[in-house]
Amino acid sequence: MKKIFPIFIAIGTGLTVLAGYFFTLQLAPVLGLLINWGIVLVGLAGLIGIGYLLKMHVTRVAKQQKGGFYSVIVLVTFLFTAVAGFILTPEDAFFRNWVLNIIIPVETSLLALLAVTLLYGSLFIIRSRGWTPMSVSFLASALASLVFSLGYLSPQAGSVAADWINFIRRLPIAGIRGILIGMALGGVIVGVRVLLAMDRPYDGDK
């Protein structure tokens, strides 16, 4: 019973939500209720996740493990932000500015680091992956995209050159669609397997 009950709930909920996608009008009230429950559960899961995060840092401080100093910083800033958020509320302009003025520069610096990492990776892709058809075509298409996005190549509309440039510009979109179709089909199969209880990620059974 302990195993069967979650399976019934998962299949029932999944099928109802799926049916709601096709019979929107008929199932709207049930669907609304299920989605609201889902939002509440996701919110609770988020809180529990933050609980795990705090527990990990508290343990690290209590046991004086390596990196404990950074955990102290995390805990102090978390508590400070949480208390300030409860008192001032997230709508408060001062609180919002204060939080955003810390988060945005930090995220921007990570983005800058990411840009450097990607540039370095693209420059050394042949060295890391070798002269394979995939790596050569990846590098060639990345370079072609960069050159075409500069906007210097703009032949007369209707000419053969313009048609070719448009064709080359559309190629990445075709590639993306191809990959997305494959991934969407994979997603459908994963969903159907869960609905048929062939995969049960909620109880760990294979």
Binding site: G49, Y52, L110, L118, G121, G178, Y202
Partner: protein
């Protein structure tokens, strides 16, 4: 035919094919999937990490659900039972992390299931940060505290996957990525040797354990993909001929 009817047809056909092939493959029938060596390399690196006494890290993505890639979180969790077995968890060096509370909860439940009712309170599942960037900021120091011999990246990632991969490789760890989202795959292509791209991601968990159900999933996906390709070619031909 309306979009709703097409949707029902694809889902219904998938369900029927999955059931039929699951029954067929329960015998000795085998479906030969395309050759892909990365999962094998990943398994070998995990064994090598155990032998060296290093940590093995499984990262389940920074989101459970996203509009563009709704199934990736579930898929990461479906892959987990093949990798976080009780033997893997014995030495305490198998770490699991995710960037969403739901993923952490489910992962914990799966691991507890392998611990036969959760006799251990020390389950190595943690959440470095609840947003993609905080996840990255929390994960990178972890690679210093527990230098990973092997890291498997599954589920939903963005461009930040490249930085995660870079951090692991700087510590001498091996990265295997079956991470979704096109941006993550493009970024990881430059950084990671063992990477699954596009629909290959969904060849897991069968790449680790080719059970009847997993093989049924492969063949179903291939049949539907082939049917879709034929329909697209026919539709393009009809459009070029001016029929539609």
């Amino acid at each position: 035919m309306t979009w709703t009817q097409i949707g029902w047809t694809v889902i219904g056909l998938s369900a029927v094919l999955l059931i039929v092939f699951s029954i067929l493959f329960k015998g000795k029938r085998q479906y030969k999937v395309r050759k892909f060596t990365s999962p094998g390399v990943f398994q070998k690196q995990r064994v090598a990490a155990i032998e060296r006494g290093q940590a093995r890290h499984l990262v389940l993505g920074d989101q459970f659900w996203s509009r563009s890639y709704p199934a990736l979180g579930l898929h990461a969790l479906a892959t987990l039972p093949s990798l976080a077995t009780s033997e893997d968890l014995l030495d305490g060096e198998q770490l699991l992390s995710a960037g969403a509370g739901e993923l952490v909860l489910f992962a914990r439940q799966i691991v507890e299931g392998h611990y036969q009712g959760g006799f251990s309170t020390h389950l190595p599942v943690f959440l470095p940060g609840p947003t993609p960037f905080s996840f990255l900021a929390g994960f990178i120091p972890e690679t210093g505290l527990h230098p990973p011999g092997s890291v498997g990246m599954f589920g939903n990632f963005g461009l930040t996957a490249a930085l995660l991969s870079e951090a692991v490789e700087l510590r001498g760890g091996h990265v295997f990525a079956a991470a979704g989202s096109i941006t993550a795959q493009a970024a990881l292509f430059m950084k990671t040797q063992d990477l699954l791209i596009g629909e290959e991601v969904f060849l897991l968990p069968g790449g680790f354990e080719p059970t009847a159900v997993n093989q049924a999933g492969w063949v179903t996906e291939d049949i539907i993909r082939l049917a879709l390709m034929i329909l697209l070619v026919i539709a393009a031909g009809l459009k070029m001929a001016g029929v539609i």
